[in-house]
């Protein structure tokens, strides 16, 4: 193996941002035609590393060789010309343009006054899609394609630009099992053409499945690179975190507890249909499903944001009709959104003001004003109860880490003393250490009698917190499972099947 000239070689690469050491002495190689996985927690330096190779950031020190040639200084155009392509998680496609225009976009980058040769663009596109053995309507607008098809378009665009090394950032995050398999088939075609692929992923099962070698990063350093046969999922997880993560199962049998929320035949046309379940006091009920399974839509309906077309709900035995989310809050239902930053908190405002948001009415005095004392008390209480790490509750939420921001959102809703708490993907963008903290808060709340619905696409998360799990797909509940009665692995197979 040592006689193979690596396509890409980084030696001693470091990167300092103002005051922060993002990367430290990275030595790393990618061989031609190799499938390589780059794993690490959020903030470990993966993205910085990619951006340095793609010419977006210049390294503070160290050297980069491509095909044996020193290439620094690098800029995005030069990196592209050298065959480096990055497929970002958002795919960076143009939804308003056609498939052909997206794939052959480079043809429009010449002199601005030059006419675009549409026939040539179509020819390029057809040739590339043929190489991938994939059929797409060249004139379809990308906004009409499925996520999986868009991914193919992004890969094809890389190929059209004569990529030699393709980085794919979380390529499988929203794909079904069949789509992942198709993607992997395409990746092996690329490999046969001598094109190297670096997956950046946090789904460890995939890493073990497809990669030839795995590189683990932690805190801006490379922990090491291993052939995939020499490490298993557990070992990789430990290398990533430096901790031993205990994924013990907490499921309890809650069937004798009093029902809090009963849902029968809930339907909203085009989004979900015939949803039946009962949530009991102190129970954590998981709803798992892929992006687009209708899980978030269901959550929004349970919180009154979307109206249902038919079906009934009952809260503590009383029939419940939700015309808006104000009705839901009044009835005692709280919702922590998936998009923590977009919907959950007001970033520039203080922690205290954010927590107060949903209970403002109950805090006003006779004059309709909110006494500063009760505001401070409320904020202080919750900062302490949820162990939010912050010097003062007057700090703006945007100064907190992702995990702590998530706790502020939780506190905001918990201050309303909810009977039902809906958590939509509460740990997206939160690193492993903080995830554990949030799981603890969730189980803690359940012990205090709150009924919790936890929506997630991470099976390990659901297994670590839930008493029962509903599996959703295509807007319907397919099955109900108890963690422990099925294994995590089995559950994952079913979801991604």
């Amino acid at each position: 193996m040592t006689d193979i000239v690596p396509f890409l070689r980084l030696s001693n690469v470091s990167k300092n941002f103002v005051g922060v050491r993002a990367l430290q002495d990275i030595d790393w190689e990618v061989r031609p035609g190799e499938i390589h996985c780059l794993v690490g927690e959020n903030g470990c330096g993966k993205s910085t590393l990619i951006k340095i190779v793609a010419g977006v950031h210049a390294p503070t020190s160290g050297t980069i060789e491509i095909g044996g040639q020193e290439v620094l200084p690098l800029d995005p155009a030069k990196a592209k010309a050298l065959g480096i392509q990055v497929i970002f998680q958002d795919l960076s496609l143009f939804p308003n343009l056609s498939v052909a225009e997206n794939i052959a976009i480079d043809d429009t980058l010449q002199n601005m006054l030059m006419p675009v040769n549409k026939a040539a663009m179509r020819k390029t596109t057809r040739a590339v899609l043929e190489r991938l053995a994939f059929d797409l309507d060249l004139d379809a607008a990308v906004s009409d394609l499925s996520v999986a098809e868009r991914q193919i378009v992004a890969i094809a665009r890389g190929l059209a630009a004569e990529a030699r090394l393709i980085f794919m950032d979380e390529p499988t995050a929203s794909l079904t099992r069949a789509e992942v398999d198709r993607l992997l088939a395409i990746v092996s075609r690329l490999k046969a053409d001598g094109i190297a692929v670096v997956f950046v992923s946090h789904r460890l099962d995939e890493v073990v499945e497809i990669a030839e070698r795995v590189t683990v990063m932690r805190d801006g350093r490379k922990v090491g690179t291993w052939p995939v046969g020499e490490v298993d999922q557990k070992k990789i997880a430990n290398l990533m975190t430096g901790l031993h993560i205990d994924n013990s199962i907490v499921a309890r049998d809650m069937s004798s507890a009093e029902p809090v929320l009963e849902v029968k035949n809930l339907t909203r046309h085009g989004e979900f249909a015939d949803i039946d379940f009962t949530l009991r006091r102190g129970e954590v009920l998981g709803i798992v499903g892929l992006l687009g399974s209708g899980r978030t839509e269901l959550a929004l309906a349970l919180f009154g944001m979307h109206r249902v077309d038919s079906g009934t709900m009952a809260l503590e035995g009383q029939p419940l009709t939700l015309r808006s989310n104000r009705d839901a809050v009044r009835a005692g239902i709280a919702y922590v959104s998936e998009d923590r930053l977009g919907l959950g908190v007001i970033l520039p405002q203080s922690i205290g003001d954010n927590i107060m948001l949903a209970v403002m009415k109950s805090m006003t005095n006779g004059l309709g004003l909110i006494p500063d004392k009760s505001r401070k008390k409320l904020a202080g209480d919750w900062v302490q109860r949820l162990a939010i790490k912050v010097p003062s509750a007057d700090r703006a939420v945007q100064t907190l880490s992702g995990g702590n921001q998530q706790r502020v959102v939780l506190a905001k809703w918990l201050a309303t003393k909810p009977k039902v708490l809906i958590l939509d993907s509460p740990t997206v963008g939160v690193d492993i250490k903080n995830k554990q903290g949030i799981y603890e808060v969730v189980t803690d709340l359940a012990r205090q009698g709150v009924g919790i619905i936890l929506i997630s696409d991470e099976v390990s998360e659901v297994f670590a917190t839930c008493d029962r799990v509903l599996h959703m797909r295509g807007g319907r509940i397919l099955e109900e499972e108890v963690p422990g009665r099925v294994s995590e692995h089995e559950m994952e197979e079913r979801i991604y099947a």
Partner: protein, 345 residues
Amino acid sequence: MRDGVPSTSAQSALRRLRRRPEAWLLAVILIVGTIFSLTARDFLSLPNIIDLLETYSVQAIMAMGLFVVLVSGGIDISFAATASVAQYCAALLASQLGLPAPLVILAGLAVGGILGCLNALLIHYVRITSIIATIAMMSVSFSLLMYFSGGKSIYTLPDWWTDRIVFWQTETESGDLVRITLPIVAMVVVTLFTWAWMTRSSAGRQLYAMGGNAEAARRIGINIGRLQFVAYGYLGLMAAIAGMLQAHRVGESVPNAMYNTELAVLSAAVLGGASLTGGIGTVPGVLLGIVLLAILQNGLNLLGVSSYFFQIVIGITILASTSLTVISSRRGRRHRILAEAPANG
């Protein structure tokens, strides 16, 4: 395939057509046109139509420029003020200094182009949101114009400017004279050029790409800054052309003659399917938008309806057409999840 229904290519072509705002707009124009031609006798006469074309040529030219800015993902409110400034500057040079035609026209175009580029500068380098930057610029340039002109019109335009230029003319049976004049020809040329440029040139496709996903455009190496200057500069040029043509039509330069036309032009572009969020829109669509506005105003005039009523109709048409787009796209999104559900359920 995604709709779960096997479809022939004819069916899918029809479906694509039905989703195009241009098709809907054309239908509305035909309906409105039919109603007016039944109620107002002169509406469908050739002289009336040609007259309408000439009247709206100025707005159509500005709409083409605005269309380019909208596609790029921006918006511009200042173009009518730009047109007035360019027109007045050119008129001053022509009447006070007596400069020859080519110099005057070049100077007018330069003023328009520079004001457009100033917008681009504010938006790209100072990073002011386009609507704020251009509202401010509108205010500044229009007020400067009123201040320095004292609101006085220039009536002494040279003959080369105000003489009608007729490319073709004929007499109808009823004895009316029908003439294809410079404004109409200019409108046709500008429309054809904008259409070819936006659909066929690299710059045009880059503008669409930038409007569709600016971040992706930047990542792929498109020069966003340069495109901003191209888009706003183009609109500035179009505004200058429109301004000088307007003075040509009326034979004088009135500083506030074009004030307030920006809303009608913007409505036409939006009616024609140009998205305010960028990346979407076509030249034929914008042209149809202008046609609809022209027909509405003219038809209502012929019927003797108050011009305020026309403003109401404009407002309602914009509300209706934009809400229709939003509602239909929302429905499309909703039906996706269950359509992909397994048949057994």
